[in-house]
Symmetry: C2
Subunit: 214 residues, 2 copies
Amino acid sequence: MPTNNTKERLLETATEMVWRNSYGSVSVDEICKAADVRKGSFYHYFKSKADLALACMERECDEAIGIMDRIFSPGKHPIQRVLDLSREALIHQREVQELYGQVCGCPFMTLGSEMAGHDAEGLCAKSDEVSRMFEAYYINLVRDLGAQGYLPASIDAVSRGEETYRYVVGMIMVARVQNSLVAVERDLLHGLFRIIGLRDEDVEAFLREKTPAA
Amino acid sequence: MPTNNTKERLLETATEMVWRNSYGSVSVDEICKAADVRKGSFYHYFKSKADLALACMERECDEAIGIMDRIFSPGKHPIQRVLDLSREALIHQREVQELYGQVCGCPFMTLGSEMAGHDAEGLCAKSDEVSRMFEAYYINLVRDLGAQGYLPASIDAVSRGEETYRYVVGMIMVARVQNSLVAVERDLLHGLFRIIGLRDEDVEAFLREKTPAA
DNA sequence: AGTGCTCTTGACCATTCAGTCAAGAGCACT
DNA sequence: AGTGCTCTTGACTGAATGGTCAAGAGCACT
């Protein structure tokens, strides 16, 4: 899995370790050891531990954008986006759980919550930025649902989008703390429909139309 | 505000520092200095740093139970409990924001997320336990709403209760990361009604009945 | 063969970390 | 006055921390 490239190896190892545990509990020495890199090389690529963490976030963020763009693709039916969001979130959490041996939740929220208050190297600003970017996807989704008549014209897309985002964050954060995906698997999708405000009939109609054979 | 009692002073100071920042970023020395206590005294009362953190959580938990018992009092109308929950959560977050100079979110989730993976001194087990206890309040609320005909008999109170709890957690965690209570103030209550699944008419009827003068 | 560059190495540093300990202060009970 | 207890003190330890540095390895270009 890891590349031969030293910098990439550091980023990958650090991402895993920080995400699994926390920024504060992982030392530069440990990261170096796990990545089989000497300390000097580390400080050739990164000017500090916080700088490494920031680079990890940026890497994760780029990857996340790709995934989110697929899930929230404006080319898809907005209800399909909700289905995909729920499905992909669960699959991703399960993959990471298997890979890292534990439910890890959202790396941006985890780090952002830990760093809140001591803005080392702009780490906390970055979490803020990422969370607001994520919100934008949800707001966009709500807007499309409204435009297609699935939601009353009166609703505030920003409010509803942010509520929806925060519901997902809560689902996933609690899953980390409880180290369990049971509730995510059982409830994420239905909660999404409800917090968004979709009518059951509309969802059912969409599902029927999607699989006319059933 | 702080008592003369050394142990209490340590607990109070540590709670504030850990909640504001994080467990990993606060050192025993710093806590001692801020509480004006010498290191030896610290280790007279607590056998380790993790032990102190656990004691802080237990103290916070006891206080939280008192507040939750009031909010979710079975003697109140269940819709009133929702109103109170939203109101008290905002007030509490605002108080802490003013006191500590920043939005701090939920101490149990913050610590629980940071500690996930390295279960020092049962800290992580405690967060898990607290989060499940909180869920119980929400499940109980949903059950009462169902029993009084506000929700369809078919719904699963556990699922819905947990979804509701997680929505609130998400709201508050994102508020911490973004260091802003705007969305909490604007959306928490309405999102609560929607994630629980209350009908607008029922809520409005309850509000009308409550203030017949208006 | 020599120059200049990036990357690597391992020894090194000052500081901070959690935690220890022996000695004593304060106080209550006899 | 003496005993026994809890609490306090400050000096101490050894390990770990984030970070530095000078020296060199490897390689490409001339």
